[in-house]
Symmetry: C2
Subunit: 152 residues, 2 copies
DNA sequence: GTTGAAACCGGTTGTCT
DNA sequence: AGACAACCGGTTTCAAC
């Protein structure tokens, strides 16, 4: 059930590069192919690995801007949260959306081509929502670090 | 140089599931294996695909808490930014770090086991930095959406 | 957990249209 | 640029230790 040190090493390798062959992993951790193969399948089966994905290059694809925005909902309306969650889940520009503690309700991470593109998205998809009371946008000026690798 | 509609379809498929075989992709877009193979290699070579990774399940690995924190630096010290950037890049608990517009300087996304674990991380790694003037932490209470898939 | 073998399948390459 | 065919290498499953 719980991954041992060997399992965690395998997970660490795979979350850094999922194209490593079983052979390569096996040689790095001084095991033969069979147990490495079985461990990976087990980690997948048990849900330690959610999925395998390709990470694309934002800038190459014209998505040069990231904006974080704080959203406060109109809490008088009890449908607000459900409505907002469903809307946001459908918007492909929203990469992340979290309910957070503190002064506002949501923190969103949005990608856009540029400031103008973000403005269009904002006007057409966020500001029109009845459930939304207030939004503050923070533009990312420099991405110091961005990783999907968990510390394990 | 610029990906056409077919390339973008391939990218869309790969960023959703990088384990799709060339065969499967080919049949979905009504092409034979060869052009799909060549296009993927080209997209990799030209940097549209940054890397292939396994996305692990945070909760399964005991990393149940995500905290966003706003950090304001002591701008009197001109070494502050460099110092902070380098420190943060080395901290595995920090998944993302961005310089943002607005009232504070940085927005960090941090993972921890729990509130206590975050407190330890905070005390030992963030609050001790001379470059840091102020930090506000926002705990994620619910993750509505989290994806690595860009809208393309 | 290791080794070795065998079948299978996808990736890779060359050639042709 | 796409289709077809042949080869190579990794994956998968098995047996035996």
């Amino acid at each position: 059930m719980n991954p041992d040190a060997t399992d965690r090493t395998i997970l660490r390798l795979l979350q850094s590069n999922s194209q490593l062959t079983i052979k390569e992993i096996a040689s790095r951790i001084n095991l033969s192919i069979t147990p490495v193969h079985d461990r990976i399948r087990k980690l997948e089966r048990e849900g330690f690995i959610d999925r395998y994905v390709a990470l694309l290059n934002r800038r190459k694809l014209g998505k040069s801007l990231i904006v974080f925005c704080n959203v406060t909902l109109d809490k008088q309306r009890k449908e607000s949260f459900e409505e907002f969650n469903e809307t946001v889940a459908r918007l492909p520009e929203v990469l992340e959306c979290s309910v957070v503690s503190g002064n506002f309700d949501y923190l969103l991470k949005v990608v856009a081509d540029d400031v103008e593109g973000y403005n269009t998205f904002y006007q057409q998809n966020l500001s029109v929502l009845k459930s939304v009371l207030h939004i503050s946008s923070f533009f990312v000026m420099s991405e110091v670090k961005s990783t999907t690798e968990l510390p394990i």
